[in-house]
């Protein structure tokens, strides 16, 4: 196991990421108003949301560079919660 904290991102990267996040958010809002994407809107928005989520976690929260233990702890929470609540909503026929 390595402590990869040495390869720390720079402020330049942070600004870049913020720019990407801003663009994705604009795309999301735009997409929800364009009729043409209506059929794929739900998956599209979920994918774009997941991209933003992933970028913040990986870079701003340093999960990409930090200990694998942290990654496991957090991913257990995220990927435990998703199927759990999908099943709950399925039993209600709400998905």
């Amino acid at each position: 196991m390595t402590l990869a904290a040495t390869t720390h991102p720079t402020p330049r990267l942070y600004w870049m990421i913020a720019l990407i996040l801003a663009v994705v958010t604009a795309a999301e809002v735009g997409a929800s108003y364009v009729d043409a994407v209506e059929p794929v809107l739900v998956p599209l928005l979920l994918v774009l949301g997941a991209v933003k989520f992933g970028i913040v976690v990986a870079f701003f929260m340093h999960l990409k560079f930090d200990r694998p233990l942290f990654r496991s702890l957090f991913l257990v929470g995220v990927f435990g919660a998703i199927p759990l609540f999908v099943v709950v909503l399925l039993t209600f026929g709400a998905l």
Binding site: L69, L73, V76, G77, G80, A81, L84, V87, V88, L90, T91, F92, G93
Partner: protein
């Protein structure tokens, strides 16, 4: 080994204030144990009253109102104020010792968890003084729990459980961080004692399950007090949502109650069989599997609620799957005894009792997974029988075994074997007489949570037996209490390692010094302490290693030991203060009509405690 104890310069501090401000995991463990035992006696008295009421048809000992409060409080107390904290007591005391650590990762957070548990427990019980205790069953099904808003009984339940949940999440975070970051050098994950593994599994279970019920409790509280309509069928809400949120927590909770006991039994069996645990990896991974699969079975508490046959079939299968790792554990325990030299001391007896009774509870659990039969069993005394076989015949037997086993470590004194054996046999008799008949009652159609039953349905005889059994259980605990009290003064002196133990806690003096280990041990294998005492001959039999004076700790001393350098965290009253603030805040929330002052005061006190806590240095003079 005893010699080194004197060389440490920490005064053993005494007095009430030292207990309030303590951050020593061992003292906190003892506080948990004593508090949980006190609540156990209260819950036991509640159970006896319930059994007295049900001894015959149309019982008149209790009113329906009193009965509903007592069975609710019995369940709530046993789950949240007895078994969880007694597990916490063992984990607190033993986790750092077994890992070769000086303390848990966050000693003050640990104290906070304890005080919040105590104050929240007292708060729930104070409801008896304020017009009655919670009376909507510990599961608090909506909309019943939201219905009686004239009384604050169910507000005490909702707020009390919420606070207890905060305490449990705090200790879970603490235990997980401890296991991942505080292990002694060489203590890899697969060298950790099974008990530590089970502690880790339940910490994860609590961590990922409590937030669900926490949200449910918030919703219920908002419904009751702020006009929200989360469970208001008339507004289009679905009351089954509560059952999902509750059981997403409630089912893993069952494993939270029993896995530490399984861990305890997994420590005791090898010591008294004089053999290593059979299939250590399988026991560990089956425990982890139980925890993991435990998140996929919650809806088997809802087979009669009308989820639809597909969901029922799915949860039936997942419930059956969880029986597999449970079976693996049992087979490995039997494998551990096989070929050993079994010393029938009290801890061993209770562990063997655990196995036998847990098998019954496990098998009756499988019958619940056969969904159509569960349509008949659900919400009857059959279920009561089932979960008492798991949680009393199982968990409580395991924890009592643990008390007999580690009492010498905690106090330096041995418990009396003769009294212990009387306790055991009376408890086995009383337990089975109480709960075996409940299988029959349930199958014969007696629903649970009923304060009386009429003549003519054939329930008299077995209810009478169950009541007799309950009083025999109570009698058995009289012997336990006598034993505990006697041993504090007159018990035989234990020495460091009275049972010829295998794990690191036996390498310390009894009771261990504040800093646990003079030298942090270096761990080279599973059961490392045992291997400093025994080797294996060519036949594979254990042979005593010619006594190297001292054992693990001395042999593995690192250079430059300087006891002056051991910094233990300083005592702090902020954790107790912060938890007190939270409970005052809780009272304010319950009595909203006049309690805004309490809300404010509580919030300020809690914040004061938290800020003081986060700004004070961990160790005095350690302001770097």
């Amino acid at each position: 080994m005893t010699a080194v104890a004197q060389s440490v310069d920490h005064d053993p501090k005494t007095g009430l204030w030292s207990w309030i401000t303590t951050v020593d995991h061992k003292r906190i463990g003892l506080l948990y144990a004593v508090t949980a035992f006190a609540f156990f006696l209260i819950a036991g008295i509640e159970a006896l009253l319930i059994r007295a009421q049900l001894a015959g048809p149309d019982g008149t000992v209790l009113s329906a109102e009193a009965y509903n409060q007592l069975f609710t409080m019995h369940g709530l107390t046993m789950v949240f104020l007895v078994v969880m904290p007694i597990a916490s007591a063992f984990i607190n005391y033993l986790l750092p010792l077994m890992l070769g650590a000086r303390d848990v990762a966050f000693p003050r957070l640990n104290a906070f968890s304890y005080w919040l548990f105590l104050f929240a427990g007292l708060m729930i019980y104070s409801s008896f003084l304020f017009g009655g205790a919670p009376d909507g069953a510990w599961v608090g099904y909506s909309p019943l729990a939201g219905q009686l808003t004239e009384t604050v009984r169910m507000d005490f339940w909702a707020v009390g459980l919420q606070l207890l949940g905060v305490a449990s999440i705090a200790s879970s975070v603490n235990f997980i961080a401890t296991v991942f970051t505080m292990r002694a050098p060489g203590m890899t994950m697969l060298r950790m004692p099974v008990f530590v593994w089970m502690a880790l599994v339940i910490a994860f279970l609590l961590l990922f399950s409590l937030p669900a019920v926490g949200i449910g409790l918030f919703q219920l509280f908002l419904d009751r007090n702020f006009g929200a309509v989360f469970y208001e069928a008339a507004a289009g809400a679905d009351p089954l949502l509560w059952q999902h949120l509750f059981w997403i927590f409630g089912h893993p909770e069952v494993y939270v109650l029993v896995l530490p006991a399984m861990g305890i039994v997994s420590e005791i069996l090898p010591v008294f069989s004089r053999k290593p645990l059979f299939g250590y990896e399988f026991v560990v991974f089956s425990g982890a599997a139980i925890g993991f699969i435990g998140f996929g079975v919650w809806s088997h508490h809802m087979f009669t609620s009308g989820m639809g046959p597909v969901a029922e079939a799915g949860f039936a299968v997942s419930t059956m799957i969880i029986a597999v790792p449970t079976g693996v554990k049992i087979f490995n325990w039997i494998g551990t005894t096989w070929g050993g030299r079994l010393r029938m001391a009290t801890p061993m007896l209770f562990s063997l009792g655990f196995i036998a009774q847990f098998v019954i509870g496990g098998l009756s659990g499988v019958t619940h997974a056969i969904v159509p039969t569960d349509y008949q069993q659900h919400d009857t005394y059959y279920v009561v029988a089932h979960f008492h076989y798991v949680l009393f015949g199982g968990a409580i037997f395991g924890y009592v075994a643990g008390v007999y086993y580690w009492f010498p470590k905690w106090t330096g004194r041995m418990l009396d074997e003769r009294l212990g054996k009387i306790h055991f046999w009376l408890m086995v008799l009383g337990f089975n007489l109480t709960f075996a008949p409940m299988h029959i009652l349930g199958l014969n159609g007696m629903p649970r949570r009923t304060y009386r039953y009429p003549e003519g349905l054939g329930y008299e005889f077995w209810n009478g037996m169950a009541t007799i059994g309950a009083f025999i259980i109570a009698l058995s605990f009289v012997f336990f209490i006598i034993n505990l009290v006697r041993a504090r003064r007159h018990g035989g002196v234990a020495g460091d390692d009275p049972w010829d133990g295998r794990t690191l806690e036996w390498a310390t003096p009894s009771p261990p010094p504040e800093h646990n280990f003079d030298e942090v041990p270096l761990v080279r294998s599973l059961d490392d302490f045992w291997h400093t005492k025994y080797a294996e001959d060519e036949e594979g039999r254990a042979v005593r290693v010619p006594a190297v004076t001292g054992a693990a700790t001395d042999a593995d001393t690192e250079a430059g030991d300087d006891h002056e350098a051991i910094h233990m965290p300083s005592p702090s009253y902020y954790p107790a203060l912060a938890s007190l603030g939270l409970v005052v805040f809780g009272y304010g929330m319950i009595y909203l009509n006049w309690g805004w002052i309490a809300v404010g005061v509580g919030a300020i006190v809690a914040l004061w405690g938290l800020f003081g806590w986060s700004l004070e240095p961990v160790t005095k003079g350690d302001d770097h």
